[in-house]
């Protein structure tokens, strides 16, 4: 079954490039340059995954608006934000609205494709298509690789794809320090150290929201981060 991906991006060159790349990977892609056109199309039929630019034309936050509308229509629809902006504030706004990932435009096409693939895999796993789910356990942490679901002390922690991969990289060898560049490689992002730092901060916050006692995620100044091994 051919997956249907919608790209809402006002910059035609970028939109076309993304369309071409995703089509090459065998997806059915529709691009929309305007908010209104996208809305009408989505009202007729929802795609399987949506990539939205935050600033659409003159409407600098039109993307957020669209995301909110889509979340109302479907809870499970994977949404990726793509933007030229990279401030923490934008990231947090986008994620609060229920986006599954938030990428800046300097990301490569391969990295976008990787996320699209990962998100589709998660959708598949959740719909129960696969049963041989590999689950990693680190103390109170349960980590389902296929479903891309994480829970702490049996409470689910909602993570974006990027955050999920960062955690995955950290818990593979608990106690070992992962440098920022290693984390970048593992999370399939090419960003600077500061962005990794804010990712880590957000992950920590999400776990603390689930459990105020959480302190497994350690900062090693000048080196990177590590997942504290569970106490024996």
């Amino acid at each position: 079954m051919q997956r249907h991906i919608a790209i809402v991006e006002d910059e035609a060159a970028i939109r076309n490039n993304y369309e071409d790349a995703l089509k090459r990977y065998g997806y059915h892609v529709s691009g929309y340059g305007q908010l209104q056109a996208a809305r009408e199309a989505f009202a007729r039929r929802l795609p399987d995954l949506v990539i939205i630019d935050v600033g659409l034309g003159d409407d600098v936050e039109g993307g957020f608006e669209l995301c909110r509308e889509l979340r109302v229509m479907s809870r499970g629809l994977p949404i990726i934000f793509l933007t030229a902006r990279d401030s923490d504030f934008d990231v947090i706004s986008g994620l609060r609205l229920g986006a599954d990932d938030y990428l800046t435009k300097d990301i490569s096409l391969q990295q976008i494709v990787a996320r699209v693939v990962a998100l589709f895999r998660r959708v598949e796993a959740l719909s129960g298509g696969k049963t041989d789910d590999k689950v990693l356990e680190r103390g109170d942490l349960k980590f389902s690789v296929e479903r891309m679901q994480v829970s702490w002390k049996d409470q689910p922690v909602a993570l974006t794809v990027t955050e999920f991969w960062i955690i995955h990289s950290l818990i593979r060898h608990p106690g070992h320090v992962r440098t920022r560049s290693q984390l970048m490689d593992d999370a399939n992002v090419l960003v600077d150290d500061q962005t990794i730092t804010s990712h880590i901060k957000r992950i920590r916050r999400k776990f603390v929201a689930a459990d105020p006692q959480f302190d497994q995620l350690d900062t090693v100044y000048g080196a990177g981060y590590r997942w504290k091994p569970a106490q024996a």
Partner: protein, 686 residues
């Protein structure tokens, strides 16, 4: 010269106004005085000329030798003391040619009785002795001649005490009196001799010209001698000379009172100064001056006023210079002020000439309550109004000047403060004012706003630029990605790889440009915790050593923990920038050292490297945005944002940054140079 001083100097000029007003007042006062004096003089002159004929003839036939008869309301106490006599010092002097005897006589009348007071200076007292009656002794013989005849009394007492003497000759009435011996006493001013105070037992009409008196002083040089000295006048004496008793003329006084202006007092004195007539002082109002008027009088009067007591109610004799001058034929005038009431009076004296002889002096005195200017209502009002206006004007000028200066200063201070501290321009003072200063303030506000906008623009330029560049970068990047997936020959692959290399560098530049912007945002969401700053610095240094293999990086930290409330992520980022800076400023051989020093209430983190030197001219702008002092170009782009980020982090912690050369000698070889960058943070804990 500052505006304020200029205005002050200008304002001082306005002080000339009161000064000139004062001068004008003086001039006016002088003019008024002169005119008043002139009118007084002419009044007095006309008075003296228009003296009625009967008074003129009385004056003409005034006896040459006259004794003023004081008018007493009651009899004096006969005790030998002149305390109860008015003006006891005004007397008729008698004496011998050789000055052996000095005597003076006062006369008064009360109820028709005549009283005499005789004081004799006599160094050789010889008293009548009851042992030898008829022997010569000191004596006073008093004779009185009236139309009814002559009476004499020979006073020759034995000792001090009351006396009663029957008249010799035709009369039978007894003279009553008191004989007082006096001794020389310089303290009391008395001389050795005696005083005689008597009442003549004769009732006379005092104003009859025919009443004459003769007094003979007989002095015996020593006991047993004959009388050798005589003074005075005896009816039987060789130098018979009678003294006319002259009293004031009530008719003349009445006439004077009727012709003299109501605010003046006129006196007529004879050629010896004895007062013949007095218009009376009742019509003169007592002084009613206020302290303000007195003050003004003292301020305005040209010369300090002469202090002079007022004339008594009934003066006996006037003996002042004005009278003497008038007797010489010169009309004079004088101004004086009374000490107690501060009343000012003007006295003029003109000679009274009858048939080319000066027989007396007409004195006219007018009193006023201080300043003539004030007495003269219209003029005074005008002057007071002018003065008040002038004072008001001066005060207004002063107020305006200081207010103007104050406003200018306030504006200037606010502008410079706004420049220094970045106070928003719309908080400038005076912008609501409608005058030129308000316009200046508004223009300043516009200027400041433009400067602030420009600064803001510079600060956000990098961020905005990077944001705008991201979209075209993304287009290029995604196009290259797409191109890469096509079947390309080796040559095309090479070009794609080069294009990607250039793209990556562009991407790095764009990221660096937006770093400061993002830092500002991450400061607002930074996580603050209390950590031992030593741990952070030591583990960071460990990381640097791992990254920069082969470089010498030393650390020094205090032995005690340095617990600091901070955002470790931000501090780590700042330290990254400082170490990166030190690395690029020095070569492989040079040393980089990181130190933490715990000072009072403050932590200093310093990064020092050898082998480079900061240029002098940029030192205070090093930590600004988009300022770079690097001369050589490196592989990585450098935008001058690194130290700006350090500054932002330090300021977020309430601290400050600085940079300096540790080697003062700029010409030393580069290996001897050391540069130190420091972050000072206030030591705050939870």
């Amino acid at each position: 010269m500052k505006l304020r001083s200029k205005l002050l100097a200008l304002s001082l000029l306005t002080l000339l106004l009161p000064w000139s007003a004062w001068k004008l007042l003086q001039e006016l006062e002088r003019f008024l005085r002169e005119s008043q004096e002139a009118s007084q003089l002419s009044t007095a002159q006309s008075l003296s000329v228009s003296l009625p004929r009967e008074f003129q003839s009385q004056l003409m036939f005034l006896p040459e030798h006259a004794l003023a008869l004081r008018s007493l309301s009651r009899q004096p106490v006969l005790d030998g003391y002149s305390d109860d006599w008015p003006e006891p010092e005004q007397s008729l002097m008698l004496g011998t040619q050789d000055d052996e005897i000095d005597a003076r006589i006062l006369a008064a009348s009360s109820g028709g009785l005549i009283h005499l007071f005789i004081e004799v200076v006599d160094g050789t007292p010889v008293r009548a002795s009851p042992m030898s009656p008829g022997a010569p002794a000191d004596a006073v013989r008093i004779s009185l001649r009236t139309a009814r005849g002559m009476q004499s009394w020979n006073v020759m007492p034995g000792a001090q005490g009351p006396i009663r003497i029957r008249a010799s000759g035709t009369g039978t009435s007894e003279l009553e009196g008191y004989w007082l011996e006096t001794t020389a006493d310089p303290v009391q001013g008395s001389n050795s001799g005696y005083r005689l105070e008597v009442t003549l037992p004769v009732v006379v009409q005092a104003f009859q010209p025919g009443v004459e008196l003769a007094v003979e002083i007989m002095d015996v040089a020593s006991e047993g001698n004959e009388v050798i000295r005589r003074a005075g006048i005896n009816a039987n004496g060789q130098e018979a000379q009678w003294i006319s008793l002259v009293s004031q003329w009530p008719e003349l006084s009445g006439w004077l009172a009727s012709v003299v202006p109501s605010d003046s007092r006129a006196l007529l004195v004879n050629d010896e100064g004895w007062v013949l007539a007095d218009s009376g002082g009742d019509s003169l109002s007592p002084g009613q001056t206020t302290w303000l008027q007195r003050l003004m009088y003292r301020l305005v009067s040209v010369e300090p006023p002469v202090i002079q007591d007022p004339w008594s109610d009934s003066p006996v004799r006037l003996n002042d210079p004005a009278v003497h001058a008038a007797l010489q034929g010169t009309p004079t005038g004088a101004w004086a002020q009374e000490l107690e009431s501060a009343v000012v009076h003007n006295t003029v004296a003109v000679p009274v000439e009858i048939e080319d002889r000066i027989l007396g002096v007409m004195l006219l005195q007018s009193r006023s309550d201080g300043l003539l200017l004030i007495t003269n209502r219209a003029l005074g009002q005008l002057l007071l109004t002018t003065l008040a206006l002038m004072l008001g004007l001066t005060a207004g000028l002063w107020y305006f000047a200081s207010r103007l200066s104050h406003r200018v200063q306030r504006l200037s201070e606010s502008v410079s403060q706004a420049m220094d501290e970045g106070v928003p321009a719309n908080e400038l003072p005076l912008t609501g004012d409608k005058d030129e200063l308000g316009e200046l303030a508004r223009n300043n506000a516009v200027l400041l706003r433009a400067v602030a906008d420009y600064t803001q623009y510079l600060q956000t330029l990098a961020g905005k630029l990077s944001h705008e560049l991201k979209t075209p970068l993304a287009i290029t990047r995604s196009s290259l990605d797409n191109l890469n997936s096509l079947p390309l020959d080796d040559e095309a692959q090479r070009f794609v790889a080069r294009a990607r290399e250039g793209l990556d560098r562009q991407g790095e530049i764009v990221r660096a440009m937006s770093e400061a912007n993002r830092l500002e945002q991450s400061i607002s969401v930074a996580e603050w915790e209390t950590v031992d700053i030593r741990d952070v610095v030591l583990s960071m240094a460990e990381g640097y050593r791992a990254v920069h293999r082969g470089r010498s990086i030393t650390t020094s930290v205090p032995e005690q923990p340095v617990r600091l409330r901070c955002a470790p992520d931000l501090l780590a980022q700042a330290l990254d920038k400082l170490v990166d800076n030190a690395m690029t400023l020095s070569t492989e051989k040079d040393q980089v050292s990181i130190a933490v020093v715990n000072q009072d209430e403050q932590v200093r983190i310093s990064v020092t490297n050898t082998g480079s030197r900061l240029p002098q001219e940029l030192q205070d702008r090093l930590f600004d945005s988009l300022v770079s002092v690097r001369t050589q170009r490196g592989d990585t782009p450098h935008l001058g944002l690194g130290l700006y980020i350090v500054r932002l982090v330090a300021e977020a912690h309430g601290g400050q940054v600085s940079a300096r050369n540790l080697n003062p000698d700029a010409n030393a070889p580069s290996s001897a140079q050391r540069v130190e960058f420091t972050i000072d943070l206030p030591l705050l804990t939870d």
